[in-house]
């Protein structure tokens, strides 16, 4: 097994993230999951959109694609369809994935295309300095929600499940061993997988909402979740208002690019030896 650091483009470090940011924890967790599975570096392709979290791919030593805002999954769909043998991973944030990229997200899930999507949810637009996102809880503050956010937020895991994702899980930057386990399982699912990683943004979310610095934010995140296994045996009042972490949905189904290869084989068998068609037209000769 290669060292963890060997998966990084060390010449591109240091990273751009603020002190205390949770994105590094998630990036490290992804690398540890890749390391455990001993995936061939040359056959992994990591795609991202725009935002703080999406900058992760520039630091990772794979074929990496830093795309346009919200479009990572659409670019990734092209790559996976073109070369199904590649392990395609998308790293995205809550704004990138659930606002501008929401359409691509639900359709990638619907197709059950074999892409593992890691959504780093810090409940805020960090790169543009603290505007509310579709994942900002109602009542919390952002620079564009100076009087408190009026909008309801998504339950992203329920959304992914409803849209057709075959593996859905949630963890946080506090629960790192769990996060690594879940990403590892997601990478092994042959289909569309989504792992939501709740992370702290002390610079914008923590400060704007008076949650505190990185340590206070991590404790705040910890107190806001409950493990799905523990929740089953807890009284309802202990679970109310908390987000579930752990494996939330695991329902394998036939995968899009595999189905596509079958379709090609079938079409090619049907048309084997067929003369004419779109280009040539034998019946029209001389």
């Amino acid at each position: 097994m290669s060292s963890t650091l060997s998966y990084f483009r060390q010449e591109n470090l240091p990273h751009i993230w603020c002190p205390g940011c949770g994105h590094g924890t998630v990036t490290g967790s992804l690398i540890r999951a890749i390391q455990r599975l001993d995936l061939d570096k040359n056959k992994v392709c990591i795609v991202s959109g725009i935002g703080c979290s999406s900058r992760a791919v520039g630091y990772l030593d794979f074929d990496t694609l830093h795309t346009a805002h919200g479009r990572a999954l659409a670019f990734a769909t092209g790559i996976k369809l073109a070369r199904p043998e590649l392990k395609v991973i998308v790293m995205t944030g809550d704004g990138d994935c659930t606002a501008i990229g929401g359409n691509h997200f639900i359709h990638a899930a619907r197709r059950n295309i074999d892409i593992t999507t890691i959504v780093m949810n810090n409940n805020i637009y960090g790169m543009t300095s603290g505007q509310y996102s579709p994942m900002t809880p109602k009542g919390m503050y952002g620079t564009t929600a100076p009087y408190g956010n009026l909008e309801r937020s998504f339950d992203l895991c329920e959304l992914a499940k409803a849209a057709g994702a075959t593996y859905v899980a949630r963890a946080t930057s506090y629960h790192v061993p769990l996060l690594i386990d879940l990403i590892e399982a997601a990478l092994q699912n042959k289909g569309f997988s989504m792992v939501e990683a709740i992370v702290q943004c002390p610079t914008y979310f923590g400060r704007k909402n008076k949650v505190g610095g990185p340590v206070e934010m991590l404790n705040w995140i910890k107190d806001g979740v409950v493990n799905v296994k523990a929740a089953a045996s807890l009284p309802p009042e202990k679970v109310a208002g908390k987000k579930l972490i752990g494996e939330l949905h695991n329902a394998p189904a036939s995968e899009y690019t595999a189905d596509y290869d079958e379709l090609i084989a079938k079409v090619q068998r049907t048309y084997e030896g067929f003369q004419g068609g779109l280009y040539g037209c034998a019946s029209n000769s001389d």
Partner: protein, 378 residues
């Protein structure tokens, strides 16, 4: 020997041209009047082991094409005005990241939903300037069904040679018109493929001659482990905020297409040698225009025809030369003067230009252009 003679429409010819060029991947979204291209790709690509996908919108379509192209495949999408508008951001992405790609825009009446089944030629400037930021663009405009085949094939060669997105700009008439076309023997066609590096050792994905060089392109998944970003980037592909890096990249990209321009330029001309009235047009408007020019000639008027096939980079010298002896230049086009603006600019103090714009969703009738010619010789 007319073995490959077929009656076909422009959209079909574009698709066959793409397949002849080695199309392997198509992502698109249904939109009139381009939809036949998607339908034919859906039917034909699996037969040759290629892939078709109907994406959730046009943004996703061009994004998936860029992804497939980075994975080493020849990729194409087709659309019309509203979809072409949605593709603009990622068109800029492909331009900056130097990803080969072909986009067919079958123009229809706009703006907005406009008249979806009526022809127009009003995306000429959008094709050039639609995405934000300075960027070079190559746009080809077929004038008949056969050229739909030829120029789509050529668009792939250009995209692969120069690592650029290439736009094939047709219109509803060209796309849906049926003509007899004799296709070349596919065995005689030698489609080009992007130049690839020899090995991953020391690979710098954006290293190239600053004077318009084209970097070598490695496919994803072959051990090169390179980084692609829509941020300005250095020769290693690493994001950079340095002004000198941005300047060098922008100038190389512009120069790349500038150097390609004379090599890819194509046009049709007739009776220009002594022409006093020069008609400059493109696409379906040029068909009516040519008919009018020939009628005027028969009646003793020194009229000549210049039909552009390479719209961008704009052939300034060609237009200036064609207009040099003219008393009047007439520009029939299905918009309110987009090509005319360029002709005026290229003409640089030459003959006065008549902006013969038509924006009612109907094709020019030859009489309309003829009337304009006769008005000019009065």
């Amino acid at each position: 020997m007319t073995r490959n003679a077929k009656l076909m429409q422009g959209n079909e010819a574009c698709t066959i041209g793409a397949l002849a060029a080695g199309l392997e991947f198509y992502a698109g979204y249904p939109i009139t009047p381009s939809t036949e291209i998607a339908e034919l790709c859906a039917e034909e690509l699996p037969k040759v082991g290629g892939k078709f996908i109907q994406m959730e919108d046009e943004i996703g379509s061009i994004a998936a094409c860029i992804g497939a192209s980075l994975a080493g495949k020849k990729a194409m999408t087709a659309t019309s005005g509203p979809g072409f508008s949605l593709m603009q951001e990622c068109l800029g992405y492909a331009s900056l990241t130097e990803v080969p790609l072909v986009i067919i825009d079958v123009q229809r009446m706009g703006p907005s939903t406009g008249m979806p089944t009526s022809p127009a030629q009003a995306d000429l400037m959008q094709a050039r300037w639609g995405t934000h930021g300075d960027h070079p663009v190559i746009v080809l405009a077929p004038g008949n069904v056969k050229e739909c085949f030829e120029l789509t094939f050529k668009a792939f060669d250009i995209a692969e040679t120069y690592r650029v997105p290439v736009i094939v700009l047709t219109d509803e008439i060209i796309g849906h018109m049926r003509e007899k076309v004799i296709l070349p023997d596919p065995a005689g066609l030698k489609p080009l493929r992007r130049a690839a590096p020899a090995s991953p050792a020391g690979y710098k994905p954006y290293a190239a001659d600053p004077d318009g060089g084209v970097p070598l392109m490695a496919p994803f998944g072959e051990g090169y482990r390179w980084h692609v970003t829509g941020l300005f980037h250095d020769e290693s592909g690493r994001p950079s905020g340095k002004s000198e890096v941005a300047d060098k990249l922008m100038r190389r990209l512009a120069r790349k297409v500038e150097k390609a321009a004379p090599l890819i330029e194509e046009h049709f001309e007739e009776s220009l040698e002594d022409a006093e009235i020069v008609v400059v047009s493109f696409g379906s408007s040029a068909m009516s225009s040519l008919s009018a020019v020939r009628r005027a000639r028969r009646e003793g008027v020194k009229a000549g025809m210049l039909r552009l096939k390479t719209m961008w980079p704009f052939p300034d010298e060609l237009v200036a030369r064609a207009a040099s002896r003219a008393r009047r230049v007439i520009v029939p086009e299905m918009n309110l003067g987009q090509l005319a603006l360029e002709v005026e600019r290229a003409g640089c103090g030459g003959a006065p230009v008549t902006r013969l714009g038509k924006v009612n969703g109907e094709l020019f009738r030859p009489e309309e252009v003829y009337a304009s010619i006769m008005e000019a010789v009065k």
